[in-house]
Amino acid sequence: MQRYFLSRILQSILLLFGVLFLVFFMVRITGDPAALMMPRTASPEQIEAFREAMGFNRPLIVQFVDFVRGVMVGDFGNSLHFKTPALPLVLERLPATLQLATAAMLMAMLVGIPLGLIGGLNPGSIMDSLARGLALLGQSVPNFWLALILISFFAVKLGWFPSFGRDEWKSVVLPAFALGLSTMGQLARLTRSSTLEIRSEDFVRTAYSKGLHPRTIYAKHIFRNVAIPLVSVIAVQFGYMLGGSIYIEFIFSWPGIGQLLQQAIGWRDFPLVQAIAVFTSLAVLALNLLTDVAYVLIDPRIRYGIR
């Protein structure tokens, strides 16, 4: 098992190098990063001076080694817009994004999982149709559009929630719902299908014939098995929310990483964009690693399989 963990960690480090490579070359695919980062009105002399200052005229390999060495010690260079180091700017926005993603995930879990369970245990019932409808809705409604609809109805027409900002607890409700709906649908769908599958397993029938109380069977035999695939979906979706809340943060002026990314692109502040990309990828990679570890710990079948 230790060998498995070790190889997973090594793999994640390799992946991180892959990310650095991608992020480094992405700003250079047009051939001239200086022209990319300078305003369109800049004169050739200004661009030349900028290229000199950023070191873009050095050989690529030297620049790459420099970039990687900087990242190792948390130095992503200075933001062009703020003229301060890029990493603290990203970290400063992290709590807001984490708060939004956590609220969205909680909402998705609290609605999606029970609905899927009830639907899966009573196929064909009203709750079942509701679970399937929610799954289809979550799949087809674009979250940026949902956000606009929520604002125009709940914020503008009814005035129940603020339409932007992060000032009071009520501020998080609309953006979290908009961000969480697709996950809610996915959780409902997955919970429903695995409940359907597991409730007709032999061990469940055995449990019934032993005369166990249905409540015990639901909790111990069904839900524990349903929970296993949910863990990985929840982790993947949480990672997706960290990187995918761009629209929602943009629409609700939520001061998180997504909004910073959108602003940084507007300012053509690519060192800041690079810092955001590396940082978010790192968070997602770490999350994936943790999920794999959690998986091994939860599921005895895997635990014995990889010894």
């Binding site: 674009p142 125009s152 690519f270």
Partner: protein, 310 residues
């Protein structure tokens, strides 16, 4: 539910069974389709969007770029102040929203179609090479593919779009390249599975050559899962294109696209909601239809699922 009254004992397993003529296959598909209502809805929705894209100049009542400032922000027909001359209302510059949505389908369908073609071709090449050669090549290629799939996708798409700049070709290329890993992974998995299967082994024992095996055994079995995947991915691309447009990173603002319309409508959320809601409904309609279509294709093209489906 849908297939209960189908007697499978007379149905050959594969649509690509050699005994069948193409007419047979189409009739068989049509019969399966007719028995699945959500599949019918999916097909109808998808074809209607494709038709809107193909025949936009003949269907659209107005020029999508024609401004008419005297009639700006006219509400849709079911709201107070709406009229039948602009059924879905007009935007802030008095342009007819219905016509813009019909023309917008062109951008979405073009991006989705060519994006999927590029992604599927790249993915099939990479995936089948990895699947055939196996060994070290396979583990290196798949390691890289898994890296790409574990990245925050949207963030990188936005990043590349910002670097490359706004153009239709760029958007197609971005989706075509960034979406190829998923096709590669599915192709590889299928190739590995099919190669180990009994019928390929017996074909080898019977002395069949590789090209024959690829064309006659592997490709036909690959088509089903890939068509299903392509449907879902095309739906996703339409979705993401609109999202990029909303952030101002897709096609230039002069081109009517659903994402550009949403971005423009955002400013008028309090005074003229319909400018933003209408294009959103178009995205939802398309994506709902393609998801239903994909679900149906998955059930129909995979004989194993077709039998067990209840």
């Amino acid at each position: 539910m849908a297939f209960d009254n189908l007697n499978f004992s007379h149905e050959p397993d594969s649509l690509l069974d050699k005994e069948r003529t193409w007419g047979d296959r189409v009739r068989y598909l049509a019969r399966l389709l007719w028995r699945d209502r959500s599949g019918v809805i999916g097909v109808v929705i998808f074809l209607s969007v494709v038709a809107a894209a193909l025949f936009a100049p003949w269907i659209a009542p107005y020029d999508p770029l024609a401004q008419d400032l005297r009639n700006s922000k006219q509400p849709p027909v079911w709201q107070e102040g709406g009229a039948w001359d602009h059924p879905l209302g007009t935007d802030n510059l008095g342009r007819d929203i219905l016509s813009r949505i019909i023309y917008g389908a062109r951008v979405s369908i073009t991006v989705g179609f060519f994006g999927v073609i590029i992604a599927a071709s790249l993915g099939m090449i990479i995936g089948s090479i990895a699947g055939y050669l196996g060994g070290r090549v396979d583990s290196v290629v798949m390691g890289f593919i898994n890296l790409l799939l574990s990245l925050p996708y949207l963030l990188f798409v936005v990043f590349i779009a910002a670097v490359l700049g706004r153009s239709l070709l760029n958007v197609i290329l971005i989706f075509g390249v960034t979406d190829s890993p998923i096709f590669a992974r599915v192709t590889r998995g299928e190739v590995l599975r099919i190669r180990r299967s009994g019928y390929v082994e017996s074909a080898i024992c019977a002395g069949a050559r590789w090209p024959y095996i690829i064309v006659d055994h592997i490709l036909p079995n690959l088509i089903g899962p890939l068509i299903t995947l392509a449907t879902f991915e095309m739906s996703a691309m339409i979705f993401y294109e609109a999202g990029l447009g909303f952030l101002g990173l897709s096609v230039p603002p002069s081109i009517p696209s659903w994402g550009n319309m949403l971005a423009a409508g955002r400013k008028y959320l309090t005074s003229a909601t319909w400018i933003a809601t209408m294009p959103g409904l178009a995205i939802m309609y398309t994506s709902l239809g393609m998801n239903l279509l994909g679900d149906w294709l998955r059930d129909v093209l995979d004989p194993r699922l077709r039998r067990s489906r209840r």
